[in-house]
Symmetry: C2
Subunit: 717 residues, 2 copies
């Protein structure tokens, strides 16, 4: 028990080594923690207590107001903060007001986004989660308080400008506090996650959430969502055509057209377009595809579950459909049981959970109002925050109880979402913002899919695809495209059937890019296992691994993929870009050239070369081409050993599709480089019957061979 500045008591509870909960006042019942998955208890308990706590708990102030309650948490000098979920418009959050309100089309940098999280991570080595489903507001050092004396005349006070931007421009006297306002609540729990490094603090948040998701191995292949008006024969034909053209693809996604009613949903096959779902499933299975079904949670009056869900639904309709209250176990069970019987047990591998976000900024906002009442006790504000999470949980539970791993798409999420096997996406389409969202999501234990729909030019289309294959989900979403976008990347022309004359060249590039993704699957699979077990995001900002490198604190157009790859995507028609490489040595993956770190280089990769750098002294296993991945797939590996002293790399072995690895049906292949013998060594320890990898070749890439000297801030010399 301690007292805050106004004499109010706060309770302090040590949850795990390095995780503390502070309780102020009387928190609300329905908060993110109320619904969260169990923490990764074993590893959290075994992690050593961080050497210092980085934040003086005694400095935290709490106060109830007529609007709700208020927290003030100090920021120290030099401390940079990141996080708040899927932020698309900014990276470093100092000086910003963040409104944690789910919204699909944030018009400017307000903090609103598809998956906003009341949580930030500090370079000082801690993270703070405010456990609320309210639309909390975070003022991240934005405002200066009136001091007891006369405030100085500094800042912009003396300026005379004829430009509004200057008059309103950032003040040079930022405050050193994060002020958080939680509306309506009479109290609040906050969770502090400490670490000896910022990544360490983040790992604690992710492990407390339950650890990162571990997708089935096929889910790391290519996913294609087809035109919404296709019928089942057209789907099968399209899937066949990919195989005929040797275009890798693992998952075919059906958009709204598979349902008899969508907007709102019937969750029943449309009898005209899909007269025999059995035949569709068999056909796609034979071709090596998994099926993903689109849906949202709004239940059409014609749906078989409508009657049962009525009493468990909110008091407002959306698209004339019920909004089921998944916070009520009975409601979730009705929905889950139906999905289990109709889809999961019939071989549907994953779902795309659409429109569980909200919309205030589009022309026709559509979701339920914040004043809604739900029978479980939440109101519309709380439900908007948590619908994405509850929806993921409801469907995920079905797969778990069937011992099937799934990996779907979802349009909204919130706190503690790491364990749910869902990747965020949106209807927005700014490539630069997609990359920023991907990078930012790592701070909150989330995954973002920079899906590819169409392109403004060949370069734009290819650059987008290159980002997609260097992301958690290699997704092409052609729901408005009658033909695959590589035959015509412009939407209107595509819909009119005007295919490009030179499409063969483009298809060759697309295939190369997809094959590159497929070659990374073993590497990514191992990175995801670390996400799951150790809480290290497979896709993350440079600042997480290089927190003391001030340059990295600003970089949101490069990111790490696993532990050894740095991605530096190009945008639109760019033919070159600058890349900052942090300390150490780096190899250009495509040219094998060596670059000294701590320097900025200009690169100009060829259009068909996805621009990545590989860290010196790392081992990168690459699979030769698979067009799809099965549970029995054996990856044929070429292993690249970079640098003079490569560190070993562990490939994960399991059945790839179930949770049996949790019971020991798993193992690993360790790849290492024997310097003395000058050759690679592979060791296997596995209880799994699957032979997952075969090594066909080792290749040693050394700095001496081709080397590029660079100066900090300079160009290639």
């Amino acid at each position: 028990m301690k007292k805050d500045g106004r004499g109010k008591k706060s309770e302090i509870e040590d949850i795990y080594p390095g995780i503390v909960r502070l309780r102020f006042g009387s928190p609300e019942k329905f908060t993110p923690s109320f619904f969260k998955r169990p923490a990764s208890d074993r590893i959290l308990s075994s992690m050593p207590v961080p050497k210092k706590s980085h934040l003086d708990i005694d400095c935290i102030e709490f106060r109830k107001t007529s609007r709700g309650c208020l927290l003030e948490i100090p920021l120290s000098s030099g401390e940079d903060i990141y996080g708040f979920g899927s932020q698309m418009k900014s990276f470093r959050q100092n000086g910003k007001k963040r409104t944690i309100r789910v919204n699909s089309d944030p018009p400017s940098d307000t903090g609103e986004t598809h998956a906003p999280v009341p949580y930030y991570l500090s370079t000082a080595g801690y993270g703070i989660l405010v456990d609320t489903a309210r639309y909390a507001v975070f003022y991240c050092g934005t405002h200066v308080k009136r001091s007891s004396g006369r405030n100085s005349g500094g800042g912009k006070a003396g300026c005379l400008s004829d430009r509004t931007e200057e008059l309103y421009g950032g003040s040079d006297s930022q405050s050193r506090k994060v002020v958080m306002e939680i509306p309506s609540a009479k109290g609040i729990d906050i969770y502090l996650f400490y670490g000896d490094t910022v990544l360490d603090a983040l790992r604690r948040y992710i492990l407390f959430s339950g650890g990162g998701c571990f997708p089935p191995i096929w889910a790391l292949g290519i996913r294609y969502r087809g035109y919404t008006k296709l019928d089942q024969e057209q789907v099968i034909q399209l899937c066949e055509s990919f195989r005929n053209d040797n275009i890798p693809c693992d998952v075919f996604g059906l958009e709204p057209g598979w349902q008899s009613k969508a907007y709102s949903c019937s969750y029943e096959w449309d009898k005209v377009r899909f007269p025999s779902p059995d035949r569709l499933r068999a056909g796609l299975k034979e071709l090596g595809y998994k099926i993903s079904l689109w849906e949202h949670a709004f239940v059409n009056p014609s749906s078989p579950v409508y009657g049962k869900l009525r009493p468990f639904s909110g008091d407002y309709l959306v698209f004339n459909g019920l909004v089921p209250d998944f916070s009520i176990p009975k409601a979730a069970k009705i929905f889950a049981d139906y999905h289990e019987k109709e889809f999961v047990r019939n071989g549907i591998s994953c779902f795309k959970l659409d429109e569980c976000d909200n919309s205030d900024y589009i022309r026709s906002p559509w979701s339920f109002p914040e004043n809604s009442s739900f029978p479980g006790g939440m109101d519309g504000e709380q439900m908007h925050s948590l619908l994405g999470i509850l929806y993921q949980k409801t469907i995920d539970d079905v797969y778990i109880r069937n011992n099937i791993r799934s990996y779907g798409e979802v349009r909204s999420s919130h706190c503690f979402s790491a364990p749910y096997p869902y990747v965020l996406y949106s209807d927005l389409y700014d490539h630069r913002e997609f990359v920023r969202a991907l990078v930012n999501c790592g701070f909150s234990g989330m995954l973002w899919a920079p899906e590819v729909k169409h392109g403004l030019s060949k370069e734009d289309f290819i650059h987008r695809l290159q980002t997609a294959v260097l992301s958690p989900l290699a997704l092409v979403n052609a729901w408005t495209m009658v033909h695959p976008p590589w035959k015509q990347f412009r939407r209107a022309e595509n819909q009119r059937g005007e295919l490009m004359g030179d499409r063969k060249d483009l298809i060759a590039v697309v295939k190369k890019i997809f094959q590159f993704r497929m070659s990374l699957v073993p590497y990514l699979y191992s990175a995801f296992l670390r996400y799951h077990l150790e809480g290290i995001p497979p896709f993350r900002a440079l600042v997480l691994d290089y927190p003391d490198d001030l340059k990295c604190r600003e970089i949101d157009d490069e990111y790490l993929v696993g532990d050894s790859i740095l991605a530096a995507p190009l945008f639109a028609e760019q033919q070159k870009r600058e890349v900052y490489l942090p300390s150490g040595g780096w190899f250009d993956f495509n040219t094998r050239k060596f670059f000294q770190g701590n320097a900025t280089y200009e690169i100009s990769p060829k259009l068909d070369e996805t621009p990545i750098f590989v860290k010196e002294n790392s081992i990168l296993p690459l699979s030769s081409t698979n067009e799809s991945i099965d549970k029995d797939t054996c990856f044929n590996l070429t292993v690249l050993a970079f640098g003079d002293n490569p560190e070993p790399f562990k490939l994960c072995i399991d059945d790839g599709t179930t949770f049996n690895y949790e019971n020991g049906d798993s193992g690993w292949m360790e790849l290492s480089w024997d310097r003395t013998a000058g050759k690679g060594v592979a060791k296997i320890r596995s209880n799994c019957r699957i032979k997952r990898y075969r090594i066909s070749k080792w290749d040693h890439v050394q700095a001496a061979s081709v080397s590029v000297a660079g100066a900090c801030g300079g160009e290639v010399q």
Copy 2:
């Protein structure tokens, strides 16, 4: 006393004939009504009770929630609603969610704007004001509630579309309720204003607010705000040059550069640029100019009032300046006394009150946070709603006690603002939105200035000017323009001193437009008196005068000026536009052609002709050119009598600058047309010593002379 749906009691109080207050629960202390001006008691008491009440009070439901409180008010079929203050992005508000939150740069149609008002007006003949300074949300028939039975499968439920706009497009099953949510409050007062017509209901709202403002007569002339970096000699030279070029101008506005510190404000003359304010005042007075001073309410540490205001200020700084709490009479008095002594008694005629709004959507948001505390008891949310009002009141009180009428500019306002002599403006610059805001403001008893700053083309610049002179304030805001914009309407070129070669032609057009404004001053002055005494907005939507004409319910690009003029502005490079004319006959002001109403025409006015129509059977007095207006100005009138049976028109006579008219020092000149004699008659009844008008000419314009037949929806034949 009555009970609402949940058994909670509401108190009903009849305030005036046709004005009812309902009290639900325990309202907050600080609400708009707490600070409002006294109602126009005499006329409100004398207005007859409306014949029907249009709204069944028993159907209003109230409920407290964890978020605040909730009101549900039925909408009947065919009822259209308007209002909510200075809405820029939509007109008819049915089907919209309105968030009543002051914001300077609303990114989309959310309801946020500079002067949002928790008030709407229904075509059924009533207005509803929710008396709150909270960020209330109005769901205007947006959402459908789950009914007790199975909802029909109608709406968009069955659609299959490949376009997001269609999927999210407006539902065809809108609800018939306005649901209002008031955050944090435990109770609420609402005011119902009834009328036999919608205009009648609106008049009650305006009169309850205290009646519309009545500007000094010179304020209806041209106002020019000069480049912010001008020094006093440059100001005098510029003012002289206008006179030399015979460019009408009444008020010269000084932008931030007049102060020693701005952003935040010192409220002291800058000693370098303005070494002798006395000389400036004398010089401008001699040239026939009034002076307007720019300021905002954030008090710089160097200001003489800083020390005194410190204890009466909010706990956060803005631009490193204090935020005085004008809700505290002592704080208002300090600020007011200083302004009185330094400026009002020294001949400063009006102020431009900047930045009393808020900003969440710009790159560098700058105002105080919602969690601010003010010593008077309000929080930041309430202060954001009311700062504009309190600021206007503080300055207005100074002028009132000095028996001087003023007419300034303000960047934010709220409920009950009609009596404050301030016109709203903004940093936005979409001409179409400016006109919509001007039209919408009328519904809430507000005035909007579509100020002219620069132009994208000659046509754009002229069309903007034409709107400005047909608005409450004919304002050119050249604060970023080194030279008058008619010498170079492009900003960058203007700042570089690159004047246009053909500027003489443009200047001639500008003069003609300004002269046209000056000719309307007597007409406008009388319209403003009716605003003041009778509550009829001088600038208003067609639907207010023609509520049963369904076409008028959608028209927000035409508006009425006074009782006889219909304005139909052109935008950007438009050379023609369609104009809908309501029932009755109309004369094109420029061509004198007659148009039958209830029809749509295409017009293509010349670039130097401001497109207006004059109602048949009305009398329009036009003044011959004045370059500026003095208290003794005698307007030289040409009186146009339109149609066979013109109704008399009353011109207002008073001293034009004081409140002495309230004590009978006033009168009128009635203009009428003697059909039999075929000549005009002017009758004067006045106690005022001023001879305000002289009639030099009568002109009878008849339909027979030049007539145009038109069909509904058709073009000119």
